[in-house]
Amino acid sequence: MSATEQGTEPVSSSKEASRGGKACAMAHIFGMRWNPSWRKVNVSPLEAGVVLGFSAALVQAYFKVIPPVAYGVCMVCHPRDLVNWLADHLLKIEWDYSLASNAWPLLTVVGVVLGAMVAARQHGESFVRPSRQRWFYFVNGFLMMNFGLILGSCPIRIVLLTAYGDLLGVVGCICIILGVVLGTMSLRWSARRSAARGGTA
């Protein structure tokens, strides 16, 4: 290990010297470009997607996140499991949760919030910003949870199910794409309408 480092270090240090003394040594770890001088991590969506899909398969294969297949990541079902498990064990309310979270609840959603907070703090992107259109977003969240549980998965798990070869994944993926097209068209329509109103008034 030390021999290879000794082999590469003079090259990187000469590059650094040529760039005006800035430390530009780039370490590639799982596709992340980590620059030690700025302490910033830049990841492309493709790399993040590959890591997400692969590790979702890993937790299913070796960490018991199964009976429902392709259940490694789901941002609708895992919160449902967590809340319903807590309701069942603390308040004795019998609400359904999956067999994967029978003994302990799945904590994906807690991890996502913690990870995003750490990333935002580390890169100076974490500020409390004032809210806008709060009731619109409230209703959107309410409907998203209900439609997601009617479908039985979130847009991430639908992609995992499609990779698994499940017909539900393919049908759900097509329906989600159609729904996104309809939603975008309705946003366009409402924007045009408000622009026309603004023009006449």
Binding site: V41, V65, V113, G115, S126, Y137, M145, G152, P155
Partner: protein, 147 residues
């Protein structure tokens, strides 16, 4: 316990990467349709390919990848009502996701960044869960019992 710790660690990793890369599974389709930009859609394709590679690899290595290439068979879609429910759910998720501007994963990341708008989204999200348990779940049971 294993599953809880594994999903906590996995959640931390994907939350971190999601904040850095703006990965979103609804904006990918929306950007392609609206502004012909496929950069976010590459994340969706990457997740598909990564999951496929993982399922094949861990299936060969003897992990618990049960009945992996399902070849479009499914335990879920076995009746008319199941098809109806899947189609309504899928269209609803896509429509609402396009209106809100992202999938639930992206909304959790944005809320963690401190944007209060998305705190209200999450408030609605978890109240929606209680509503689902009390009302929607019962309605779905009625519909599936009609078959």
């Amino acid at each position: 316990m294993t599953a809880a710790v594994a999903t906590l660690v996995l959640g931390f990793v994907i939350g971190y990467l999601g904040q850095r890369s703006r990965l979103c599974f609804v904006s990918g389709y929306r950007d392609l349709f609206l502004i012909r930009d496929a950069s976010l859609l590459k994340g969706v394709i990457g997740a598909f390919l990564g999951a496929l590679a993982g399922f094949i690899l861990f299936g060969f290595m003897g992990g618990s990848i049960v009945g992996f290439p399902m070849f479009l068979k499914t335990p879920g879609l076995n009746s008319v009502s199941a098809w109806l429910i899947a189609v309504i759910g899928g269209l609803g998720v896509g429509f609402v996701g396009a209106l809100a501007g992202g999938c639930p994963f992206r909304m959790h990341v944005l809320a963690a960044e401190g944007k209060r708008t998305y705190w209200f989204y999450l408030l609605g999200f978890y109240l929606g869960l209680i509503f689902y348990n009390l009302v929607t779940f019962r309605i779905l049971e009625r519909i599936t019992s009609l078959d």
